[in-house]
Symmetry: none
Subunit: 282 residues, 3 copies
C-alpha cells in the first residue's frame, strides 16, 4: 500500500501532491477553528456575566436639567460649582431597578412595574462599572480629541454614593487604515448591518462596594468636552459586573495574547491526541 502511493506520486505529478496538501490544510484549519471555538467557550465560562446592563440615551437638548445639578453638591473633592458646567453638557441616566429609562412620566399609570424594588447587587459585594459609548466617526468627534466621562452613582433616595471622571477619545486611526477597514466592512455597511462608529469602553469604577443601607439604583453619565468642543454620542450602555479575580483580569486585559496562547495550547493537545489515535489505528 505504501509502495503504491509512492509510485502513484512519482507517476501522476504535481496535482495529487497539491490535493494532498490541500486536504492536510483543511484538516489543520478545522482543528484551528475548533480550538478557537473551545477557547471562546472556556473564556465565556470563566468570565463572570454582567449583573446589569442598561442602555444610555444622551440628552443634548438642554431642556431637562441634569438630575444631579439640582441637588446640593457634596463638598469633598469637587470644589468648583459644577451645576453651571453640567447644565450645558449632554447627559444620560440609568435606573437599575426599573424597565423605563430616561423618559418622563407625568402619571404613575404610565410607568411599567419595576424589575425590583429592593436592590440589584449583593450587599458588601465588589463590582466594576463600565460605560460603553458608540462614537460615530464624524469629523466633529475626530477633531474633538479627549473628552471626560463623569459617572455618578446614586442610591434609592438620590444620595450620591460615588463619582468618577475618566477621559477618553475616539481611537486614532490614520486615513488609509480607516479606508481599508471600511472596504473590508463594505457589504455590511451598505446593508446596514454595520455602522461607521467606533466603540469606546470607559472603566469608570473598579472595586465599588455595594452599601448595606443605601443600595445602588441610579447612575448618571455626563460628557464633558474641553473648550466646548461637542462630542457626538447617541447611544451607549452602562454595565455593572462582578469584580474580576486575578486570572479573569489577566484574560481580559491581555485578551488577544491569552486567546492566541490558549488556542495554540488546545490546537497542540488536539493534534497530539489525533496523531496518537491514528498511530493506534495503524
Amino acid at each position: 500500500d505504501n509502495i503504491q502511493t509512492e509510485l502513484g506520486d512519482s507517476f501522476v505529478g504535481i496535482i495529487p501532491v497539491l490535493m494532498k496538501a490541500f486536504k492536510v490544510l483543511l484538516v489543520l484549519m478545522a482543528f484551528f477553528l475548533s480550538s478557537l471555538f473551545l477557547y471562546g467557550l472556556s473564556y465565556v465560562a470563566i468570565m463572570p456575566g454582567s449583573v446589569s446592563v442598561q442602555k444610555l440615551y444622551f440628552d443634548y437638548s438642554g431642556i431637562a436639567s441634569h438630575p444631579v445639578s439640582n441637588q446640593i453638591f457634596p463638598e469633598t473633592h469637587f470644589r468648583k460649582t459644577l451645576p453651571h458646567i453640567l447644565d450645558n453638557a449632554p447627559w444620560a441616566v440609568a435606573d437599575f431597578f426599573s424597565k423605563h429609562s430616561q423618559w418622563e412620566a407625568y402619571n404613575d399609570d404610565t410607568i411599567p412595574a419595576p424589575r425590583t424594588s429592593n436592590r440589584v447587587l449583593k450587599p458588601g459585594g465588589m463590582y466594576q462599572v463600565e460605560v460603553i459609548l458608540d462614537l460615530p466617526q464624524s469629523d466633529i468627534n475626530i477633531m474633538s480629541g479627549v473628552f471626560s466621562v463623569l459617572v455618578e452613582i446614586l442610591s434609592v433616595d438620590g444620595t450620591m454614593l460615588a463619582s468618577s471622571v475618566r477621559s477618553t477619545r475616539i481611537p486614532h486611526e490614520t486615513g488609509w487604515v480607516s479606508t481599508i477597514r471600511k472596504g473590508v466592512l463594505l457589504a455590511p455597511l451598505l446593508v446596514g448591518a454595520a455602522e461607521e462608529t467606533r466603540t469606546v469602553k470607559v472603566p469608570s469604577f473598579r472595586y465599588l462596594v455595594e452599601n448595606e443601607e443605601m443600595p445602588l439604583r441610579y447612575a448618571t453619565v455626563t460628557l464633558l468636552s474641553q473648550e466646548n468642543k461637542p462630542i457626538e454620542v447617541m447611544t451607549g450602555s452602562i454595565l455593572i459586573g462582578e469584580e474580576l479575580s486575578s486570572i479573569q483580569l489577566l484574560m481580559k486585559e491581555w485578551f488577544f495574547t491569552c486567546c492566541a496562547a490558549g488556542t495554540a495550547f488546545i490546537f497542540c493537545t488536539h493534534g497530539i491526541t489525533y496523531l496518537g489515535f491514528m498511530a493506534f489505528l495503524e
Copy 2:
C-alpha cells in the same frame, strides 16, 4: 546507506540539495529560537520584579481640582505659584495602599478594603519610579512636541516626599516608516488587537529611599505642555521597582545589544554541544 544517499544526491539534482539546506535551516532556526527563549528566561530571572504597578486614569475635565494644588506648596525649589498652572493640567493620582483608583466615594462603605494599611516598600530600601504613558499617534500629540511629566510622591498623611519633572515627547517617526509599521500591523489594527499608539517610559525617580516614619502612599502625575498645546493621554501606569544593580542596569539600558550578545553566546554553546554530541554518536 551513506553511499546510497550521496549517489542519490548526485543523480536527482537540485531538489534534494534544497531539501537538505532547508532541514539545516530549520535546525538552525530551532536553535536560534531556543537560544532567544533561554535569554528571555534568564533576563526575567535576573531582573527584579516591580514592587507595585498602578493604573493611571488622566482627568482632563477641570472639574476636580488637582489634589496637591490645594495644599500649601513647599517653598524649596519651585518658586512660581504652581496651583494656577496645575488647575488646568490633566492629572492622575495613584494610591499604592488601596484597590480603588481615582474615583471619589461619598460614603465609607462604598470603598473597598485596602490592600495594606502599613507600607508597600521596605523602609530604607532604594527604589525607582517609572511612568508609562500610552500616546495615541494623533496629529495633536505629534505637533505638541515636548511636554513635561510632573510626578509628586506623597506620604500617608499627604505630606510631600519628593517631586520630579521629566520631559518627553511621542517618538519622532517619519511618515513612510510609520506607514510601514502600520502596514505590518494591519491585521491586528483592524481586529482591534493593536492600536495606533506609542508607549513612552518616563524614568521619574532613581534611588528614591523609602522613609522610616513617612511611608510612600500616593503619587500624582500631572502633564504640563508648553504654551497650552494639549497632550492626549488616556491611560498609563506608574510602576515602583527595586533599584537595579549595575549588571541589571546594563541589561536594561543596552537591552537589544545584550539580547543579541546573550543569544549569540547561548547559540554558539548550543551548537558546539550539539556538534560534539553528534561526533560522539558517530
Copy 3:
C-alpha cells in the same frame, strides 16, 4: 590527492575557481576583522576612561526655576541679565557626588546616600567636559538650526567655578541620504532597537583644572535657542574625562583616519607573518 584536485580544477571549469577565490576572500576577511578588533582593543587601552558620567534630564516645564538664575550671577563675562533668559530655557542639572539626579526631595531621609562626600577629581588634575545630546530628527529640531549649550560648573557650596557656551545643531542631512539611512535601519527602527535621533557631542571644556579648595560638584546644562525656536532634547549625558595627551588627542580627533591606518598596519604585519609562516612550513 593534491594532484587530483588540481586536475579536477582544470577540468570542471569556473565553479572550483570561484570556490577557491571565495576561500581566499574568507581568509582575508577574517584577517581584516581580527585587525579591526585588535585596533579597537588598543584604542580602548590607550584612551583614558571617563572619570564620571551623569545622565541629564531636561526640564521644559518652566515650573522649577533654573538653579543658577536665582543666585547672584557673577559679573565676569556675561554682561546681559541672564536670569530673565534662563527662566524660560530648558535646563538640566547633574550632581557628580550623588546618585539622585534632578528630582527634588522634601525630606532628607528620601535622599540616597551620596557616592562620595569629598571630590570626584584629583586636585590640580586637568579634565575635559563633554555634553552628549540625543536630538530627535523632528521638523522642529531640523528647522531650529544652531542653538547654544550653556554649561556651568559649580562647587560644593554652589559657587560657580566655570561656564562655557558652545553652539551646535543637529547634523545636516539631505532628504534622500536620510531616507537611505532609515531604510538601512528599518528593522531596528520598527522593533524599537533604534530611534530616529542624532547624537551630538558638545566639547564644553578642555583643560579644566580641579580646584584644591573648591571641588567640582554640580554642572547645569541650559539650552539657549535663537529667537525662542524650541529645541527638543529629552535626554543626554555629561561626561568628565581626563585631559588627553597629544597622541590620544590625535587618535580621537582623526578617529576614522587613525582607525584605517592602524587597521591597515596590523593587517599587513598579520599577512607578512602568515605568509612567512606558510613559506616556512613548505
